[in-house]
């Protein structure tokens, strides 16, 4: 009898702690969203109250004056380009690493995977110099190529480990039926590897969409900036209007948050299988 009572109290306490943690995780975001609907004066006089007269002025100004739409477009364009290019390269490469025999396979694979641990800072100077010579600074192509190269190792790691679980006999049978290289990819790898392809693309999207360093260095022209870079620049202005920035940050949080909430089930699944950071 006493034991169940103790258990109940313990359980209630545990839930209380977990709910408190939910507050800890959500509060800064709610604080940001609420204050984005105030003006500067109200924010400085009371940052913690609900907005007395919620206004979308900051958002309107962001679109009209700051041109946030353009930055959002840049982010989506770069994300889409990098995602597609990464996926195409990774599909071919993972197929070869998972199901083909050739000399030099494991050293090549190891080399590609090792570049995963190379921080962007380490290679950025020569990359910048090379890009400057090739006229790739301030181009979407330049960022897309650099981002793709950075995402490939992880994507290949994930796809290969998935493709390797597809029954060998399916490939043999398809080959005997005269299926060519692209047919095998289209009819076997893509349908059977769909979950892994989806998960890696979602994660890649979150990575590109939030990337700061690469686009910050490679896109210096104001009109080419991504949302993250533009907001980082805005936030480093000492005497800016915090509520204005809150509005911008809220917009930039919304894109990945929506993607996350839509796909949270597969994200949880992908993480619990491991191999993603």
């Amino acid at each position: 009898m006493q034991k169940t009572w103790k258990n109940k109290v313990g359980r209630a306490l545990l839930v209380a702690i977990l709910v408190a943690l939910v507050v800890v995780f959500l509060y800064p975001l709610i604080f940001m969203a609420l204050n984005s609907m105030k003006d500067k004066i109200e924010y400085y006089s009371n940052a913690f109250a609900l907005p007395t007269a919620p206004t979308l002025d900051n958002y309107i100004a962001l679109f009209n004056k700051f041109g946030i739409g353009r930055y959002l477009g840049n982010t989506l364009l770069i994300s889409a380009g990098s995602l597609v290019l990464t996926l195409v390269c990774a599909l071919f490469a993972s197929y070869a690493f998972a199901r083909m025999k050739f000399r030099g396979k494991s050293p090549t694979y190891l080399f590609i995977i090792c570049t995963m641990f190379l921080p962007a800072q380490v290679i950025m100077i020569p990359l910048y110099v090379m890009y400057a010579k090739m006229g790739l600074i301030n181009t979407y192509t330049g960022v897309i190529l650099a981002t793709t190269a950075a995402m490939l190792p992880n994507t290949i790691l994930l796809l290969r480990s998935n493709f390797i679980t597809i029954d060998k006999e399916i490939f043999e049978a398809a080959k005997l039926d005269g299926a060519g290289y692209f047919q095998i990819i289209k009819n076997i790898l893509i349908p059977l590897g769909k979950p892994a392809i989806a998960i890696s693309s979602i994660f890649n999207f979150l990575v590109v969409c939030n990337d700061l360093f690469r686009p910050m260095i490679l896109l210096q022209a104001a009109d080419k900036r991504t949302l993250t870079v533009a907001l980082a620049a805005l936030s480093s202005q000492k005497f800016g209007d915090p509520t204005y920035l809150f509005a911008g940050l809220t917009i930039s949080a919304l894109v990945p948050l929506v993607v996350y909430l839509i796909f949270s089930k597969s994200i949880v699944k992908g993480l619990t299988v491991g191999s993603i950071k």
Binding site: P28, A96, P119, M124, L145, Y181, V259
Partner: protein, 299 residues
């Protein structure tokens, strides 16, 4: 038949290299070549204009004999301290979610949110939360823990604490989902046997759950250590800007400062980059050794 087979094998080899070619070429141009260039530049003095001026080991000697590098290294080591906290709290949360305590679906979704939003947002929000009149100061004053507001980001020690709290906040969700995956692979019969033997909840937690998660925790350690040395840049950039002074600057942050701020010192920055790679390599080797040893003990 044999001829056909060898022809097929040859064709496969040809196909294989063609399949890898786009990836390989891209990675060699975007990572391999720049890496070699970085190593070469580290032996020169260069501000980006004109030709690099070879100076031998001077950059390395300057870095290793100055005091700044050791401050950066110390910061990197201090920031490693978030890892045990992340592992313990994250794993405990995973256990609760796994036990399906009321609301577990909500926790599973909410705790991971910091991983999804950009570091620029996280950094700025933490700056506001720990601001002079920010929520944290007000809360601590309300609770009577402190009398006057603390300038959290104005002294090195407290700024480092804020960074650590931020890193824990960002990564707990990642750790708990990872541990959740590990928990799924523990056979339930183990728990049932322990229950029959009369082992209580906590005993089961420490005697079965944590040891059985060894592999997962090992993986998360390796990835997290690597992350502190190579992935922490945007958080530092947005939260403290390395300040006050260089009190929260890490090696990768300094590489950025030395190469892309007003006074570019490409040679110096490159030498710093090479040292960073060496440090990461040493850490990886140590961790792999340790985990190998553990595995052979288990075996």
């Amino acid at each position: 038949m044999k001829i056909k087979q060898s022809r097929m094998l040859r064709r496969e080899k040809y196909q294989a290299w063609l399949s890898i070619a786009p990836t390989l070429i891209l990675i060699i141009i975007m990572c391999g070549y720049p890496l070699i260039q970085t190593i070469a530049t580290s032996f020169t003095q260069w501000n980006g204009i004109g030709d690099p001026n070879p100076v031998g080991l001077k950059n390395y000697i300057d870095i290793l004999s100055g005091s700044q590098f050791y401050l950066l290294l110390k910061n990197n080591f201090v920031f490693l301290l978030f890892i045990p906290v992340q592992i313990v709290i994250g794993t405990m949360i995973a256990v609760f979610i796994n036990d399906e305590v009321p609301g577990w679906k909500v926790y599973r979704v909410v705790y991971y949110i910091p991983q999804v939003i950009s570091a620029v947002i996280v950094g700025y929000l933490f700056m506001v939360m720990f601001g002079y009149e920010g929520p944290v100061n007000l809360m601590l004053q309300g609770l009577g823990v402190i009398k006057e507001s603390i300038g959290w980001l104005e002294s090195g020690t407290t700024a480092r604490i804020v960074v650590l709290i931020c890193l824990v906040w960002v990564n707990i969700g990642w750790q708990s989902l990872l541990s959740l995956g590990g928990l799924a692979s523990i056979p339930p019969s183990l728990y049932e046997a322990a229950k029959l033997d009369g082992a209580g909840y906590w005993k089961r937690l420490f005697k079965i759950t944590f040891p059985m998660l060894g592999r997962t925790i090992e993986y998360s350690c390796i990835v997290s250590v690597m992350w502190v040395f190579t992935g922490i840049f945007p958080y530092i950039f947005a939260l403290t800007g390395g300040g006050p002074g260089y009190e929260t600057a890490t090696i990768d942050y300094m590489i950025y400062l030395k190469s892309f701020s007003a006074n570019s010192q490409y040679g110096y920055a490159s030498a710093l980059a090479v040292l960073l790679i060496i440090i990461v390599l040493i850490f990886t080797v140590i961790q792999l050794r340790v985990s190998d040893k553990q595995n052979s003990w288990e075996g």
